[in-house]
Symmetry: C2
Subunit: 206 residues, 2 copies
């Protein structure tokens, strides 16, 4: 397997006692968890994460596209939520609820989906700082984009309402495994829950 | 403070090295957590909990109304969910969503509410058995009653959909503290979310 030190002459050799390849990536992710927990999503920097991992900052850029990408790995997320949100927004306002649900269940309806979700939520519940970290990330990288696409004075409220139904669906289907939601086909759940999301996104909130 | 051994001649003196009063109650609750985790909600018995706590079974009955009551204490719940559900059902189908939301936020909008909710959810996420335990309790003591009051072939699906929105609201408002849901007046959230619950309870699910 090719390691960065072998394949990319511009990346300096690793310092200290860190192993190469996947182990380096794992060390960066572990250091990122500590840094995000200590400084929050806003406060943590790629330079600080590299320092904590004992690697050159350029190695962090070799493995990750940016701070949000490191965060996705540190929080056990199987995909970048930003990518899902971008796809959902790109389709326009019509059917946004359905697209959002299909994208989410497409991510978590996988063999490791539930395991990762439980790990993520456990991490969030272990400390105030982990909670603040996830909230900052969601607001800045996920809901910020939804809000921008929706516009209007109630956009932040609408996005939070959507989040409340989505988090509840994830909890019911994957964590508590409440029937019949846990075993239902994703396609059977979409028409039940999409109207809720569409009302939160575009309906009257009077 | 009066202890059961002092105030109730019918309750035998405690055995072994267990302390009296609040400490006895705490010992029962701690033993209950272990028993529920090991045997699930269905499998655990008051007799087994008493044995694990090293107290006479009558002492358990002195402190608790029944297994569901011990469970409520073991799971850090501030009130008996059964009581909330009973009040919500008693009002009939009209306005059930509003009553449910007001009752829930009345419980958790307290100084210790968030703390207890995080403790409960952490406990649920720590193990498969804790998850199964909460699910069995919810199905038997909470949703079983809602389902019975609703009737109809889709009652279990409707109850699970309601649960998904409620759990998501609790996560958003108390755990992740997502704004503006976290700081909103409960009365401002009721008209936003009640229509979702009412649709899940009584609306068309076609």
């Amino acid at each position: 397997m090719s390691t960065p030190a072998e394949s990319d002459a511009a990346v300096p050799r690793r310092r200290g006692r860190r192993p190469a390849g996947e182990d380096t990536r794992a060390a960066i992710v572990a250091a990122a968890r500590t840094e995000f927990a200590a400084r929050g999503y806003e406060g943590a920097t790629l330079r600080g994460i590299a320092r904590a991992a004992g690697v050159d900052p350029r190695l962090v850029h070799h493995y990750f596209d940016g701070k949000d990408d490191v965060f996705v790995a540190a929080m056990y997320l199987p995909v970048r939520p930003q990518d899902i949100v971008a796809g959902v927004i790109a389709g326009g306002p019509d059917g946004m609820g359905e697209r959002l649900l299909r994208a989410l269940m497409g991510v978590w309806d996988t063999p490791t989906g539930r395991e990762r979700l439980v790990a993520l939520l456990s991490s969030v519940l272990t400390s105030e700082s982990a909670t603040a970290m996830l909230r900052q990330f969601l607001v800045r990288e996920v809901f910020g984009r939804v809000i921008a696409s929706l516009g209007g004075p109630d956009a932040d409220l609408r996005a939070a309402l959507v989040a409340s139904q989505i988090v509840g669906l994830l909890m019911a289907r994957y964590v508590v495994r409440l029937e019949p939601i846990a075993s239902a086909d994703a396609e059977d759940l979409v028409p039940l829950i999409a109207p809720t999301l569409d009302r939160y996104l575009r309906g009257s909130l009077a």
